[in-house]
Amino acid sequence: MGRKLLIEHVHVPGIETLEVYRSKGGYTSVEKAIKTMSPEAVVEEVKKSGLRGRGGAGFPTGLKWSFLAKPPGVARYLVCNADESEPGTFKDRYLMEKIPHALIEGMITSSYALGAHTSYIYIRGEYFYVARILEQAIDEAYAAGWLGKNILGSGYDLDLYVHIGAGAYICGEETALLESLEGKRGNPRIKPPFPAIAGLYGCPTVVNNVETIAAVVPIVNEGGCEYAKIGIGKSTGTKLISAGGHLNKPGVYEIEMSISVEEFIYSDEYCGGISGGKKLKACVPGGSSVPILPADLLLTTANGEKRMMTYESLSDGGFATGSMMGSGGFIAYNETACIVRNTWNFSRFYHHESCGQCSPCREGTGWMEKILHRLENGHGKMEDIDLLWDIQRKIEGNTICPLGDAAAWPVAAAIRHFREEFEYHVKYPEKIKDPNHFHKQSFLSSKQSVTI
């Protein structure tokens, strides 16, 4: 059994209450940090831990924290990004719903490290009921003196608020999130300046994912070096993986970043294999934005090595033969799934969620969706496949924020690895009339074999 640092006590009855959470060692990181450590020392531990942003980009958290500008007399903010909206990802919801105090404890310790006296948790509007759970937990924390004025008699003050969104994937992008938090449309800002210099209300701001902030708790408790001992290379610690799609046991799993993809899918400790007694066809290992991989490349890298659940191994081979850890939204597809339909589905998502600010994303996402819809419904032409390739190439890298890239990558990867399936849709429109066209007979590619 792998170590669990974040959700070890998830099944303890009453863990959502402060009393039970505290009895399991909760809030010791706040005590340790505030009573025995300087803010800089906390940042140092986070640096040592090698913790990387769990929202998707995987940027080293300690480094991000060290970029925070500290002009005298100017407020600094810590904002938690709980706008979890990446298709395939539901780990933050799980964590906040089950153990809300884990996030609140992390927010207090992290705010102390950054010198923030007001912090916000920006949560997506659809998670209204989770927001209520968090607010109840915050009320408890205030009542017990973990929040408010003069925490633990240290002179350190902190106010923590939950801020609710209203349905917009783009608000997961940190500058769009800040705009939204300021009561505006969720349009990403043009960078630079980065939030570390000018973020919320123009003040220096750090925006971190829920899981990242929760991970600060064990890092402070056990020390950054201890944390860094878990995992392989630059993938330190544990990671929450949201497993969904065609799996026997979908759900949220905390893994040590040292297990193989194969173990994650097939072992009974984790997903327990592919559902319906079918074979694995493909997988999106890190949320809808990351490249889809066919089964063989998912389990083994192009070099023939076992693919591991780490940042490095999942991206081994670059986009040609690899993918990304992303947000850890692990979506498995069995042989009944149609990759063209999946790509259309994702494309529709990005089209729906584009903020419309910059032209390549605003116009390109809709165009891709229309072409994919046409292909999936048997009205496509062979040239459409090359056209799609060209459109995604012209969106990628040319937009204000990464949503353009996120919309382009799944299309690119689907064509790269499953081109034959696209061609099949053009060649045999009558065979794909039924929306569940591969349910009875799966598509057999001449290139890659479906494994195990």
Binding site: I190, G356, C358, S359, E363
Partner: protein, 339 residues
């Protein structure tokens, strides 16, 4: 002062200069096109992505290239920065993509659009676009609406540059129009048809790079190239009163602000000058408005044509547009050779 190199041309510029401004200081071909940036409007730019450039060296201190093309209008020059615009084929290809995106949902109704002949999007498409469209779906349309009684909003033509919103924000008090919805159904709209009633609201027409906001008092009166533009001024208490009169004979068809060579308004004018003074007697005429020789507005005034330059331009267009027929017509010699 930082030094920047754009397309192999080095220039020293003041601190806080953007790449686009630096390129404009150099002038000529190195200047990237800009559809949403506007020097006189704060926080404008960054949206249309036509001004993207490649930064092959970020600065002397950090010589790494920037990973993606950047919007030159919103990126500040660093000392030792090396920028590629026309010298980077992949950048030009990316820009061509941006132009295509801007055009896929544009109605291409130039024959009935009042902006034709002075439209930034037409110029952009001509300079940087492809000859053919690859978009074969239905284009998005919106109902036309009136913003007040003087301004017509034809949202179908809009490229969402946000300039008009910034004019309303920065020049007028109490903005009543803005951007609604999101994604590709975003639209400029007034709040429940509230009229824009403000002394400077007419400037929205001048900043609009396309025919989305046009002057209702000029609607369908004339193609711009059949008018005679004159520089004129009058004593005005609200603005400088310096305008361009678009005339036919003795008739003033339209009054607009004066624009520089980047099609940006030099000085904002008030609605009084723009809409309420359509008599020649109201104005002190300074003389003919100078128009760039390659502008369609200057047709029938060909005295300043540089034949050598014209030839180069034709060749460039032939190459760029890949138009076979034009090639056959213009290069008989090549046909002879083929035989």
């Amino acid at each position: 002062m930082p030094k920047v190199t754009i397309d192999n041309i080095e220039i020293e510029v003041p601190e806080g200069t953007t790449i686009l401004q630096a390129a404009r200081m150099i002038g000529g071909d190195v200047v990237p096109p800009a559809m949403c940036y506007y020097s006189n409007l704060k926080t404008s730019g960054g949206y249309c992505r036509t001004c993207i450039v490649k930064v092959s060296q970020a600065s002397a201190k950090d010589p790494r290239p920037m990973p993606k093309p950047v919007a030159s209008c919103r990126t500040f020059v660093q000392d030792g920065m090396v920028v590629q615009n026309t010298t980077s084929p992949e950048l030009l290809e990316a820009r061509k993509g941006v132009v295509e995106f801007l055009l896929i949902n544009h109605p291409l109704d130039c024959p009935i659009c009042d902006q034709a002949g002075e439209c930034d999007l037409q110029n952009l498409a001509y300079e940087h676009g492809a000859a053919k469209t690859r978009y074969d779906f239905e284009r998005r349309t919106f109902e036309k609406i009136d913003i007040g009684n003087k301004i017509k909003l034809h949202m179908t033509r809009c490229i969402l540059c946000y300039r008009c919103v910034k004019v309303a924000d920065q020049l007028t008090d109490g903005r009543v129009h803005g951007v609604m919805n999101r994604g590709d159904v975003s639209e400029i709209s007034t709040y429940i048809q509230n009229a824009v009633e403000n002394d400077f609201s007419g400037n929205m027409i001048d900043v609009c790079p396309v025919g989305a906001l046009t002057d209702n008092t000029f609607r369908f009166k004339s193609r711009v190239w059949f008018t005679n533009p004159l520089d004129a001024h009058r004593a005005c208490t609200k603005c400088t009163g310096k305008v361009v009169l678009w005339t036919k004979g003795n008739e003033v068809l339209r009054v607009s602000a004066r624009k520089d060579k980047y099609a940006e308004v030099e000085e904002w004018i008030c609605n009084d000058c723009r809409f309420e003074h359509k008599n020649m007697e109201d104005w002190n005429v300074e003389g003919a408005r100078k128009t760039a020789h390659d502008s369609v507005i200057s047709q029938n005034h060909y005295e300043n044509i540089d034949l050598q330059k014209l030839k180069l331009e034709i060749n460039r267009q032939i190459k760029h547009q890949g138009g076979k027929k034009i090639k056959e017509v213009y290069t008989q010699a090549q046909i002879e050779n083929k035989k």
